[in-house]
């Protein structure tokens, strides 16, 4: 039986002469990773190369770097970071803290799924403002049975927002400044979003969210919706990691446990002496 193989367009290895299970050289999309990129490429340039298959232009690298900084830490109030901290306070494994951040940060409300949905909207609507407005005004429709919960708000907008927040506006302005211009390798969707933000927000009845900015930046970087979803998951992990580590140090006694109001409490059971004492 012939040996089964793994097909890839991304990664090429040559084995060490005396060990078929150790690589002597690794090339990523044709570039020598340890003989060239390690010395000459930045992390952001390498990240772009991994996803897009080509080295970024200076503008593309700046756009991705700006996006990476904007997304790196949504802060402890973010649900994904909150989940990671839940692992930290109990002394859970580091990987489980990041799994928690990924599981929650994957969602369609503020997470990577929402980013993907926005990018899919871009593919359909392009820069047709009237189409965006009519689509945003319509109630989100649940698709066929899916593992993902039905969308509850227009993707890319903050369901609980009052106005577009400072960080979202600052991120949009910065990314427009560093990344726009089709002749420089980036798309022009961010500039269009900035120019039409008010109209879009009026149609949605909600302010633009960071997910909308991130999705548009990822589109301008040439990512597919699937690539954008994956990058969004990756880029938000640093904050989850450090807040999980920090809460591990503070410990569970310094972490909110919240009050409970049980609406269907049957009261203490009879015949079991200490069952009224609660706790984890």
């Amino acid at each position: 039986m012939s040996e089964e193989t793994i097909r890839t367009r991304i990664w090429q290895e040559e084995a060490e002469p005396d060990n078929a299970f150790a690589a002597a050289s690794c090339h990523c999309h044709g570039y020598d990773v340890y003989g060239d990129l390690l010395a000459h490429a930045s992390w952001i340039e390498y990240l772009f190369l991994l996803f897009r298959g080509e080295a970024p232009s200076a503008q593309q690298a700046r756009l991705l770097e700006g996006l990476a900084i904007a997304l790196a830490n949504p802060g402890p109030r973010d649900a994904a970071v909150h989940a990671a901290m839940c692992g930290g306070v109990g002394g859970s494994t580091s990987a489980s803290c990041l799994m928690a951040a990924l599981a929650v940060g994957a969602g369609a409300s503020g997470g990577a799924r929402e980013v993907r949905l926005v990018m899919e909207d871009w593919l359909v609507r392009g820069t047709d403002l009237a189409l965006w407005q009519s689509s945003l005004a319509a109630k989100p429709i649940a698709g066929p049975a899916d593992v993902w919960p039905a969308p509850g708000h227009p993707a890319g907008f903050d369901p609980h927002g009052v106005r577009c927040t400072g960080p979202v506006l600052q991120t949009l302005a910065h990314l427009v400044e560093v990344g726009c211009g089709a002749d420089l390798g980036c798309g022009s969707s961010l500039a269009w979003l900035q120019a039409n933000r008010s109209s879009l927000e009026s149609a949605a009845g909600l302010p633009l969210a960071m997910s909308g900015v991130a999705a548009t930046a990822l589109r301008d970087l040439g990512c597919t919706p699937a690539q954008g979803e994956m990058l969004h998951l990756l880029l938000r992990l640093p904050g989850a990691a450090v807040h999980a580590l920090e809460q591990k140090e503070y410990g569970h006694k310094n972490f909110p446990f919240f009050q409970v109001e049980l609406e269907n409490d049957p009261g203490p059971a009879q015949g079991i002496g200490n069952c009224v004492e609660g706790g984890a």
Binding site: F21, A83, G91, A106, R113, I272, N274
Partner: protein
Amino acid sequence: MNGPQLLEQYAGRLVTRAGACFLGERAVFRGLDLHAALKDMDWLELYLFGITGRRFTPQQMAVLQATWVYTSYPDARIWNNRVAALAGSARSTASLGIAAALAVSDARIYGGGSSLRAIEFLLEARLGMERGKPLAGLVAAALHGGYIYGFGRPLSAADERIEPMMALLREHNLDRGIHVELAFEVEKILVGRNPALRINYGALVAAVAADFGFSPLEYYLFRIPAFLAGMPPCYLEAADKPAGLLFPLPCRVMLYEGAVRRPWQGTTPKT
């Protein structure tokens, strides 16, 4: 043989006694036909057979099943459950939320980590006593930071699961196992040092598992789904509410204790 020669021997094939499926034909589970020899097993029995290769008595199965039931708390405040609930609130998938919540359950102060240390301590204490060492000395030697895993509890000194589990053990005449009795002897010693160090559910279930012949690894694997039943209600309830309504955190709750505000003065130019 080692190094690449050893790896080469295993390349491209699976050598296993765990099992295999022959699609369209049959499946083998630990050397038995799943759809013939094992077709009448209940799921928990099959799970345990997969871990230990052994069968358990009906009385033991009733107790092992109850060890999960008695700790299935659908309370979204509990840290592992909160992960599942937050996944629902953030409109993620149920399997992502629950898988991550199970992974988080491998915690140091509760769940997998503390349970594993508890059974290891009880097994070692029993061996030490068989070698003639006094229990008080074994307990003193096992104390780390003033406590032993399985005794004391993060949020409450009392453990409401102890009494119903002991009642069930008595019902099945399984309450006098050597490790269960040992666990309560350890509690007496520890409470003499610190009243908060009462036996918790982790130590009791670890003792039961030790009495049933579980190794620490077998016990760790057995208890992985222990909190599972409480998680789907947490996910569902959060998913049923509008997104983001589970434990929304206003900015004011963050008590900042870090460096004073300062400008960034990077020394390397951006790309």
